[in-house]
């Protein structure tokens, strides 16, 4: 079974201080100086797929794992790690266009990659990513490929007859479905938060392979972007402010602080409950 995981590296926005949130004339925020991290849902998706791959071996089935990201060179560090974790293919589609708010473009590139370059049985994506917070890409990939899509996925396991057992969260509980491929899986808040760290040995023996880099122009990006501009555009961007009083309770000891908190701020409120 061939599985493609699409991931995005995102700036760690929690590192930005209050003053850093200045919006420029292109309605963008300069985030070039903060560390890039894996989008949290994608990190779960990658780890989940590695687990699936291990588990599949006990079903005598071997998976071919490809990791794909669309973006600039900053992502290569992660692609190398994925090689070291035994992803068979690590692909980067070079892009320098501003596609923050155009999941349609990203989805079309992914769908074309699957249809024309590297056929797959399953495409795994995260449910949402910054900076756009679009929450649309996996759904659009499914539509463009004409495949079904399961959202809020929290676990993927192998099943008999080349099928998958997919667990997802739904209102009021969880759903366990055994499905035929092809299928798009959109990963939600899964209880798998961290991507494992490769061993030094694996880093040395697998992590040095060349990352496949494709140019985004192969995917007709100009016409994709143009189509998006005609459908919708970002016209404003403003910082959300959540400031409150932030009264600091001081005290020499923990007990003193707790007492002050209770007497001045909590007692009355607790009594009201």
């Amino acid at each position: 079974m061939k599985i493609l995981v699409c991931f995005k590296t995102v700036p760690d926005l929690e590192m930005l201080s209050e003053e850093d949130w200045a919006v420029d004339s292109n309605l963008a925020v300069d985030v070039s100086f903060v560390k890039n991290i894996l989008n949290c849902f994608d990190e779960s998706a990658l780890e989940m797929t590695l687990k699936l791959s291990e588990y599949s071996e006990s079903f005598n089935e071997s998976l071919t794992l490809t990791a794909l990201t669309i973006g600039d060179k900053k992502a290569e560090m992660f692609l190398k790690t994925l090689y070291a974790l035994k992803f068979q293919k690590a692909v980067r589609i070079e892009n320098n266009e501003d596609v923050r708010f155009f999941p349609e473009v990203i989805a079309a590139v992914i769908a074309q990659y699957v249809e024309k370059i590297n056929n797959q049985d399953v495409v795994v994506l995260g449910r949402q990513s910054g900076e756009g917070d679009n929450a649309k890409t996996p759904l659009l990939v499914a539509e463009m490929l004409g495949w079904p899509c399961i959202t809020q996925v929290i676990n993927i396991e192998p099943s008999q007859e080349e099928r998958l057992r997919v667990t997802s969260m739904v209102e009021g509980g969880t759903l366990i479905q055994v499905i035929d491929t092809p299928c798009v899986l959109s990963v939600g808040n899964a209880p798998v938060s961290y991507l494992r760290v490769p061993t030094l040995k694996d880093k040395m023996s697998y992590g040095k392979r060349a990352i496949e880099v494709l140019n985004i122009n192969v995917f007709n990006i100009a016409s994709l972007l143009n189509k998006c501009y005609h459908e919708y555009q970002l016209i404003g961007l403003e910082k959300i402010s959540n400031h409150r009083a932030g009264i600091l309770i001081e005290g020499a000891t923990t007990a003193e602080k707790a007492k002050k908190l209770y007497d001045h701020y909590l007692k009355e409120r607790l009594e009201k409950q």
């Binding site: 917070d133 409150r244 707790a258 908190l261 209770y262």
Partner: protein
């Protein structure tokens, strides 16, 4: 603006969806007489309640076997094929966001997920939504009809439906089957509801608690204080607490009167889930954590020592 509301009547949260949409319609000045509601439902005996909670007078009830997006998308397309609709509005839960995006693609419209406000203009629709992991509000102009919008969780007050003169048509479309890729199907009900959405007093714990045992202790502390325990994303994804206790944009958007937030940094995507609290008390060891500026009262100290002290005083 001619619009259609799409609701999932197979879900237990139906009333919440309906009241939220109703609140959204009134706060965005959408004229109810130009609206229509489509409700998917599974159980015959739920029909009366579903209809009574439709935000518009004109209602269509469509019977399906269960909520299954592939089938529902096919039905929606069949039912709306010749309509000149300007706007389709979907609920704030995951069903709303998945349907809005996929449906928009199928009818060649445009979509936006988690919208908190709309403004109607002659040549388009202005939609507001949080971006940059909830640090920023983005304003979008959509110019391709039909607009398919799913609303943001907790973006309006809930408003009970007042419409009494519903005119409903009912249709059975159980024979539409686009889900034969599913070979086995098993729904496992949640063991217990978290009660967070309606909690008046919430204790919410973050990654700084560091281990599962501590979360257990916090459960007890919450109980003896009379609070409901919520957690941040890392606590849930580390499996230290059930996923339904997750607070934030991808979990519960709570509106308690009192919220004590311990060992959470206060990341914007988390904070959105407690922003509507009337009063926020934060306990954190780091004076520079964002939560410090977003709380009403702050203690800089180890959360555990403070909470244990509080229990002694109380």
């Amino acid at each position: 603006m001619k619009f259609t509301v799409i609701l999932n009547g197979c879900s237990d949260n139906f009333i919440l969806q309906a009241e939220e949409i109703n609140g959204f319609l009134s706060s965005n000045a959408l004229n109810l007489s130009r609206g229509h509601t489509i409700i998917f439902y599974c159980e015959e005996n739920s029909k009366i309640e579903l209809m009574a909670n439709a935000p518009t007078a004109s209602v269509e009830l469509i019977k399906v076997k269960r909520y299954q997006p592939e089938n529902i998308l096919e039905i929606l397309k069949q039912r709306t094929i010749n309509q000149q609709m300007d706007l389709y509005l979907f609920a704030s839960d995951f069903t709303g966001s998945e349907l809005s995006v996929r449906f928009a693609y199928r009818i060649a419209g445009s979509s936006l997920v988690a919208v908190n406000k709309l403004e109607i203009e002659k040549d388009g629709l202005i939609a507001y939504k949080a971006v940059y992991s909830n640090h920023m509000q983005g304003v979008f102009k959509l110019s391709k009809k039909p607009y398919c919008i799913s609303i943001a969780k907790g973006c309006t007050d809930l408003e009970a439906v007042l419409e009494k003169n519903h005119e409903a048509i009912t249709e059975d479309m159980m024979d539409v089957v686009k889900d034969d890729f599913i070979k086995e199907y098993d729904f496992v009900e949640e063991e217990r509801v978290s009660g967070l959405a309606h909690a008046k007093f919430m204790l919410v714990a973050g990654n700084g608690v560091k281990q599962k045992e501590k979360v257990k202790r916090l459960e007890e502390i919450a109980k003896s204080l009379g609070a409901v325990l919520g957690v941040s994303r890392p606590v849930a994804t580390n499996a230290w607490a059930p996923l339904n206790q997750l607070v934030g944009v991808s979990g519960v958007m709570a509106k308690p009167e009192l919220c004590i937030a311990v060992a959470v940094s206060g990341a914007a995507a988390f904070f959105a889930g407690i922003e509507k609290s009337q009063y926020i008390i934060a306990i954190n060891t780091d004076k520079g954590a964002p939560i410090v500026r977003c709380a009403d009262v702050v203690i800089i100290d180890d959360y555990e020592s403070i909470l244990e002290e509080l229990l002694k005083i109380k």
